[in-house]
Amino acid sequence: MHRIGVFVCHCGTNIAGTVDVKAVAEALGKEPGVVSSVEYQYMCSEAGQTLIKDAIKNLKLTGVVICSCSPRMHETTFRRTAAAAGINPYMVEIANIREQCSWIHKDKATATEKAIILGRTAIAKVTLNTPLTSMESPVTKRALVIGGGIAGIQTALDIAEAGFEVDIVEKNSTIGGKMTQIDKTFPTLDCAACILTPKMVDCAQNEKINIYSYSEVESVSGFVGNFTAKIKKKARYVDAAKCTGCGVCTEKCPMKNVPNEFNLGMNNRRAIYIPFAQAVPKVATIDADYCNMLKKGKCGVCAKVCTAGAIDYKQQDEYVEREYGAIVAATGYNPISLENYDEFAYSQSKDVITSLEFERLTNAAGPTSGQLLRPSDGQHPHTIVFVQCVGSRDTSGCGKPYCSKICCMYTAKHAMLTRDKYPDTDVYVFYIDVRTPGKNFDEFYRRAVEEYGVHYIKGMVGKVSPRADGKLMVQASDLIANEQLHIEADLVVLAAAIEPDKSARSVATMLTASMDTNDFFTEAHPKLRPVESPTAGVFLSGVCQGPKDIPETVAQASACAAKVIGLLAKDKLTCNPCVAHSNENLCNGCSACEKVCPYGAITYSDKEFRMPDRTVAIRRVALVNPAVCQGCGACTVACPSGAMDLFGFSNKQIMAEVDAICK
C-alpha cells in the first residue's frame, strides 16, 4: 500500500503569487495513496526539509511528491532529504509548478488548475517508482581542451598546475588564438603578445600539457569521467618532431602570393609558413591549397633548403584516440562577415576596415610594421571614423541581437592610441551607447574623450560612400545635436559584432552540449553554474559561452579549470541508476537500440531460451552495460517490441503520467 506525502512549495511569491498553493495541497491530498499534503514557504530551506523528513518518519511515507521548481534545480536536494529520512532517494518525484506553471501563467485560476494536474501526474508516477541503487564508475584523470586561445591556454595551465594531464586541440597551426592578433590590451595598454606569449611557452614546456596543433576533434563518445575522443591531426607536410622552426623554408618558398590570414589578408605569406615569430609550436606548415609540389608535383624547394629533413610531402592525416575524464569547450569567436552591411562600403573600399584589421595595421608585426597607413595608398589617414555596433544589438535580423561587449572598450583604445601617436588626426567615434562596466574601464573611456580629444558622437552612421579622389564620405546623424553630419574621412573602422566560431556547432553536437539561438554554449545555470554545460563532464571556457573581454575570459577559464580539477580529483563517480535494461523475453535482437545508443552501451549475446513448446531456442538478445548507459532513453523509443525500458522512467510510468494529465 502506498503512503505518499505531497509537499507544495510557495517559493516565496514565485509560485504562490500565481498559484493558489493551499488549493493545490488540498486537491492533491484527495488523490488515492496520498496520506499527507501540505504547503510551505520554502521547501528547500532547512525548515522545509525538516518538514519533509519528519513527515517521512512519522507518517511512514513510501513516496514523496514535491511540487516546486524544476528538478534541475533541487531534485538532488530533495533526494538527499529523503535518503536522510531513511527512504530510497529515487522514491521522490518533483512536479515542476514554477518554470512550467507559475512563471508562464498570469491567471491564477488557470495556473492553479495546471499545478494540480502536474502534481497529480507526479503522484501517478511515484506510485510506480521502484527503489534504485547507484553504481560507481572510474574517472580518467586527463582533460581535453578544445581550442587553444587564451581561454583554452589558461584552463589548461591551471589544470596542469593541479597535477592533471591536459591535451589542447587547436585547429590552427599555433595556439594563441585571437589574442595573438591584438596589438595592445585595454585598459592598461600593455602589449598583447608580451603577456600572451609567455603563457603559450608555458603550455609548450609544461610536461602535463600536450598540444595537438593543426588538429581537430573528430568524434567524442562516452560520458563524464570516461570520454573517448578521436583527434584528427591534419597533415601539415612537415614532421613536427624534426622541424626546428628556423624559418628558412618560409623565406625560400617561391609561392609568394598567399594571403596571410594572420594579418587578415592585408599582406602575403609563402605556401609554407609559420604564422608569426612566437608561434607555439614553432613548426612550419605547408598550405596544400597553394603548394606547387603538392598540387603539381613540381618544386620541392623547401625540402632542399631544410637542413633538418623535416619536409614530408607524403604526410597523411593522422588519427589519435585518447581517453578523458573531462572536456572543455574553448572554441572562441570570430568577427561576423560584413556582407549584410554594404552601406558601410566594406567590400567597395580598402579603406573601410574592421577593428581587428585595425589592430594588425597598428601592430609592429603587422603588414605596415606598426605604421597606421591607409591600405589603399599607404598614406597617413588624417580623419578616422570609428563606427560601433556594426551588427551588434541589431534586431533587424541582419546582425546579432546581443551586445558584443568588447567593442566600446577596444574602440576607445584605438581612438586613444591613434590620437596619442598621430595628434594631427581627427578621430570620430559613432556610438549607440558607450558601455564601460569593468574595473578602470570608465576611467579609460573618459581619458579618451577628455585627455585625448576624441570626438564621441551619439548616433549611427547611415552611409559611407567612397569618392573618386579616395576620400570616404561618411553620412551620419548626431542625435544629441539633432543634426546630419557629413564627414570626409580617410579611414573608416567598423566595430564588427563577434559570433561564436563556426566549429562550435559541430563540437556542441559531438559533446551533446546545448547551445542558444546564437550558437553560444548554454551553461548549466546562468547564475550559479556558469562554467559547466548541462552535459555532465563538459565545461565552458571563454567566448564560446558568451562575449567576454580578456580579463573576464581568463577569470572564467580559471573558474572552468577549478571545476575540471574538482571532477578529476575524484577517484570514482556515482552513476545515475536511471539506466536502460532489456527484457530478454521480448527482445528480438534487431539492433535498433544499438544503432541509436550514443554511448555504445548496448551489446548482444546469443542466449538459450526454453520456449513454450518445451524446446530450447538460441536467440540474440540485447544487453545494456549499466556503467556506460546514461539513461537518455533513445533505445526505449527505438525498440519496436517494447523490450527496452528505463529504470525510473519506465514506459508504464510515462503512460501513467499521460493518463493522469488526460484524466
Partner: protein, 325 residues
C-alpha cells in the same frame, strides 16, 4: 518456369545443399496459393506450384525456418527480397542457413481485384501470362492479366532482386516511375476532416483479425506490444471504435523505416482496407525529410530514423521556422 523451379529445387535437395524447400502450394482454390515447406522430390512433384497466383511473400517464414536444423532453399520474388534483406539486417533471419533463389515475377493475379470487377462465384482461374481465364458458376470470363493484378503488383516499385544466391529467369530494374505514391498524394490534398472521414470509413471495417500483423515481414517481434500485458494496451477493451482504429496507426508507426512496401497487409485484409497507404505515407515522408530511402535495398545502410546526422531536419521546427519547404 514452374518446371525449372521444381527441377532446381530437386537438384539442391539431392546434392545436399539444402534439406528443405520453402515455396508455394495450391490452397482451397487454384488461385489461392499458400506458403509451404517441402522436404522431398516427391512432395515437390505433388504440390509445388509457381505461377501467376503465387503472391505470398515467403521472407517472414524464414525467421523461424532459418533457425531450424540444416539449410533451407527459398524462392523469392523481387519484392520479397527487400523484406528478406530487411530481416537479415535486423538479425531476424540467419543468412547462412538460407539458400535464396530469385524468381522472375511479372505481377500476381489477385482474386479480390477480380471480384471487385463484379465477377462472382469464381471456382478457379488460370493465367497464360497475357490473359486470365476466370471460371465461375455463371460461365467463363477472360480478362487481360494487367487488369487482374493485386494492389501491390499494380504499383510495383521494383522488379530487381536485391538478394539472391542464384536467379531463375530474368532480373528486372527498379521502377523509378512507379505510381505508388499517387493515392497518398490524393489523401494529402484532402482537408483534415475529409481525410479523417476517409480513414474512419476504411478502418471502421476492421475486425481485428490480426491478419495484416501476422503476415507483415516487419512485424516479427517475439511478443507484439498488442499481446504484451506489460504494455498496458494488450487485450484492452476499447473505449470507443476509434481506439480500435489506433491499432493500425500504431502498427504503421512501429514499422516506419522498416516497411519495405511489400503490400502483404492489404493483400491479406479480408475487409479490403488499403492499409498499405498508411505505410506509404510514412515512406513518402521519410523520403522527403531525410532523402530517398528504401528499406531492405541492402543489409548495411542505416535507416533514417535509427541514425543521426548533422544534416538531419527536425520536421516540426523546420516548418515553424519556414525552412526546407
Amino acid at each position: 518456369m514452374q518446371e525449372a523451379v521444381i527441377n532446381r529445387a530437386k537438384e539442391l535437395l539431392a546434392d545436399g545443399t539444402v534439406n528443405r524447400v520453402a515455396g508455394w502450394k495450391t490452397g482451397e482454390f487454384s488461385f489461392d496459393t499458400t506458403p509451404a515447406v517441402f522436404t522431398s522430390a516427391e512432395e515437390l512433384d505433388a504440390d509445388f506450384v509457381y505461377n501467376d497466383f503465387c503472391a505470398p511473400n515467403l521472407s517472414k517464414y524464414l525467421v523461424k525456418e532459418s533457425r531450424k536444423e540444416g539449410k533451407l532453399l527459398v524462392f523469392l520474388k523481387p519484392c520479397d527480397t527487400y523484406s528478406f534483406n530487411q530481416l537479415v539486417k535486423e538479425h531476424r533471419i540467419l543468412r547462412e542457413n538460407v539458400y535464396v533463389i530469385g524468381v522472375e515475377c511479372t505481377g500476381k493475379v489477385d482474386a479480390e481485384t477480380v471480384k471487385l470487377k463484379g465477377i462472382k462465384g469464381i471456382t478457379s482461374m488460370e493465367s497464360d501470362g497475357e490473359n486470365v481465364t476466370i471460371h465461375t458458376l455463371y460461365g467463363n470470363k477472360v480478362l487481360p492479366k494487367s487488369e487482374t493484378l493485386g494492389t501491390k503488383c499494380a504499383t510495383c516499385k521494383s522488379k530487381k532482386h536485391v538478394a539472391y544466391d542464384e536467379l531463375i529467369g530474368n532480373d528486372g530494374e527498379v521502377d523509378e516511375e512507379s505510381k505508388r505514391f499517387e493515392v497518398v498524394e490524393k489523401l494529402e490534398a484532402m482537408t483534415p476532416d475529409e481525410r479523417y472521414e476517409f480513414w474512419r470509413g476504411e478502418l471502421s471495417r476492421c475486425i481485428r483479425c490480426n491478419a495484416c500483423r501476422n503476415v507483415c515481414p516487419a512485424c516479427t517481434c517475439e511478443s507484439c506490444v498488442f499481446d504484451n500485458p506489460d504494455s498496458g494496451i494488450a487485450q484492452k477493451a476499447a473505449a470507443d471504435s476509434f481506439e480500435e482504429n489506433m491499432f493500425h496507426i500504431i502498427r504503421a508507426f512501429h514499422v516506419t523505416g522498416r516497411c519495405t512496401d511489400c503490400g502483404e497487409c492489404t493483400r491479406v485484409c479480408p475487409q479490403n482496407i488499403p492499409l498499405h497507404l498508411l505505410n506509404r505515407k510514412y515512406i513518402k515522408d521519410i523520403n522527403k525529410f531525410y532523402g530517398d530511402f528504401q528499406a531492405g535495398a541492402d543489409t548495411i545502410s542505416k535507416a533514417p530514423l535509427n541514425d543521426y546526422t548533422f544534416g538531419d531536419c527536425e520536421p516540426s521546427i523546420v516548418y515553424s521556422r519556414g525552412g526546407n519547404e
